[in-house]
């Protein structure tokens, strides 16, 4: 029997096969969601402008006191007005995005990697190792994560690095749990068994076969966490446990504006809005991704 027979129809079908990788598929779904698109736009503008401001404005200008111009209203020169030390609030907020987003991305990336490693090990090997790891995770989950971060910062001292570390550690359990459950569900699928029967090493099975198939829920969780982390960082700085003044972090700007809140509400409204919109943008993107990655849609 000739081999061509099996594939008899194919020449006619060539046009109808839509070449679309899964990434493209997910993105096309994501871009149909208006809120997610708005979130992506807002976050991109934030990222781009916060990077740009580093080149356009000297950092000294952002932190230098200029008491003659203090507490000015909104004007063409000072878009958001000036604060109690006469600094340009707009510059400070945009520069603050740099620090907030940096803290957000770095700590989420850190907790994804650390939590991912712990969770994958627990999920893949199972048994006693899994039980031990999970009990530790359970203990940490029992402590509210903001409180936990406060504890770490009070022990290690304030500053951006310690703040980062604190938030990162506090978020590990969430990621460990998600990684563990997705690894466990993928680990028993037939294609993993196929990889084992093909002679793949454990390392290769985990990194090439299991993890790429766990990415969906993890990406969603990471995006949603990004908002939460930015919020935590701002609140820690607000209560004086995070970034220290005069660094223009959003929480710090809020604290500084608090004094003048009654007479000059813009000093808290603008940084508050910045935090709110950024967190909202992250949540919209996260929700959009969750819908786009939902296997039921395919």
């Amino acid at each position: 029997m000739s081999k061509k027979l099996y594939d008899g129809l194919e020449s006619k079908e060539i046009n109808r096969i839509k070449k679309k990788s899964q990434v493209q598929f997910v993105l096309s779904h994501l871009f149909k969601n208006r809120l997610a698109v708005a979130g992506i736009l807002f976050l991109s503008i934030m990222i781009i402008s916060s990077i740009a401001i580093g080149f356009l404005v000297d950092y000294k200008v952002i932190v230098k006191h200029d008491l003659r111009n203090k507490l000015l209203g909104v004007s063409a020169r000072y878009w958001f007005g000036t604060d109690g030390f006469g600094r340009n609030l707009f510059y400070r907020i945009i520069y603050g995005a740099r620090i907030s987003l940096m803290i957000g991305f770095v700590s989420v990336a850190g907790s994804t990697v650390l939590g991912g490693t712990i969770g994958s090990i627990a999920g893949y090997y199972g048994g006693k190792l899994d039980i031990i790891i999970m009990r530790f995770i359970d203990i940490q989950m029992a402590i509210p994560s903001t409180l936990f971060a406060i504890c770490i910062v009070s022990v290690l001292g304030t500053g951006i690095t310690n703040l980062l570390l604190a938030i990162m550690i506090a978020d590990i359990p969430q990621f460990a749990l998600i990684f563990r459950s997705s690894v466990m569900s993928v680990k028993n699928s037939e294609f993993v068994e196929a990889a084992r029967s093909n002679g793949c090493s454990t390392y290769r099975i985990i990194f090439r076969h299991i993890l790429p198939n766990c990415m969906g829920p993890i990406i969603v969780q990471a995006t949603l966490n990004l908002g939460g982390v930015i919020l935590t960082a701002a609140s820690l700085s607000f209560i004086g446990l995070g970034v220290m003044p005069p660094t223009p972090e959003w929480g710090v700007i809020l604290t500084e504006g608090q004094e003048y809140m009654r007479d000059f509400p813009t000093l808290v409204i603008f940084p508050g809005l910045a935090i709110m919109l950024t967190v909202l943008a992250c949540n919209f993107i996260g929700d959009g991704l969750r819908d786009a990655l939902d296997p039921k849609l395919k």
Partner: protein
């Protein structure tokens, strides 16, 4: 050839509007089913068998599925003209359905008896009282209602389940037993028509044989008409009276079992291909003769004969024109091979 037409499908077209495009699931099928007859709908995945059933039951997925043309007449009434309230009265009472997967078609948190009784309650209350009272659904009320209980016991015994087990939950039953419960549920209101969608596909062979035996027995006892949807020609041979072979949303061959299973009669090349594709216990072919190629894309069907790209007897005309049905008594074939003669 006894009985009046119970169900008549006339030139039915059903589509699904999906992201990839308009899926043409059913492309003009016409059928007649008489009282007490069993019709086998045979075809492969994507042939439109289940869509036909869902169109009859008006259970097509709301947002995507749509009947765009045709009529489905049940006892002379066009089901497509009825509103949802009238349709609810027909579903379960006049026409009921048995699904492929007994595991997911039964409610896991209701006992078997409650589920069967619920069907009865809904349709009885239609007759006796005007509105369907929520209280009637409660178990207390049901248990006191001895008449309903007796009926439930009867129907369970009929499908071979001891009535002692009726207060158990679906997960306490095995797969075959669950499918019997589904059959009992379908039968409880003495429907005139049962649509069974691959009722035995999920079962093991020995259990399948048991379920088929029960269905055969019930068919004779109750004289209910049935549409049996399956891909298994063996099952069709054992219980159907008439057979419709479907391909890409069309009925390409129709006939009595004798017509279809008589290998000396003329057949559609696809029917022939199906028979040649199945390994059989009773002969020793060194190799099977598969149909080459695959099912056509339902979003982009050829306007002419749907089977021509896979057909070994494809002629010029096959690529240009859709063949008209040719009939000899009950036997119908849609194929250009036989269109030279007026009759088969």
């Amino acid at each position: 050839m006894n009985g009046n037409p119970l169900l008549e499908i006339e030139d039915l077209f059903t589509v699904y509007n999906t992201e990839i495009g308009v899926v043409k699931a059913i492309n003009g099928i016409s059928l007649q089913l008489r009282e007490g007859m069993t019709l086998g709908l045979v075809g492969e995945t994507g042939a439109g068998k289940t869509t036909t059933a869902l169109s009859i039951m008006r259970l097509l997925p709301e947002k995507t599925g749509k009947v765009i043309k045709g009529a489905i007449k049940f006892e002379g009434k066009n089901l497509l003209d009825l509103d949802e309230f009238e349709m609810e009265k027909i579903r379960g009472k006049e026409i009921s359905m048995i699904f492929q997967d007994p595991l997911s078609s039964l409610n896991p948190i209701m006992t078997v008896a409650d589920q069967i009784e619920e069907v009865l309650m809904i349709h009885q209350s239609d007759k006796k009282k005007k509105s369907y009272n929520f209280l009637q659904n409660s178990q207390l009320f049901l248990r006191s209602n001895t008449k309903i209980e007796r009926k439930t016991d009867e129907i369970l015994e009929l499908v071979g389940i001891s009535s002692d087990r009726k207060r158990e939950f679906p997960h306490q039953f095995s797969g075959g037993m669950k499918q019997r419960v589904s059959i009992a549920m379908a039968l409880i209101c003495n429907p005139k028509l049962i649509i069974a969608d691959e009722p035995t596909t999920a079962l093991d062979v020995t259990i399948q044989a048991q379920v088929i035996e029960i269905m055969e027995k019930l068919k004779q006892q109750l004289n209910t008409a049935m549409i049996l949807i399956t891909h298994d020609l063996g099952i069709v041979a054992s219980i159907c009276d008439e057979i419709a072979i479907m391909y890409a949303g069309e009925i390409i061959e129709f006939g009595t079992v004798e017509d279809i299973f008589d290998r000396n009669k003329k057949h559609h090349p696809y029917t022939q291909g199906l028979f040649d594709s199945i390994p059989r216990l009773d002969d020793d072919k060194p190799r099977l003769k598969p149909i080459r190629g695959l099912m056509p894309d339902p979003t982009d069907l050829p306007a002419s004969c749907k089977f021509h790209p896979r057909c070994d007897f494809c002629m010029d005309i096959c690529t240009k024109q859709n063949p008209l049905p040719l009939k000899e008594q009950m036997h119908m074939i849609r194929c250009h091979l036989y269109s030279g003669s007026k009759e088969l």
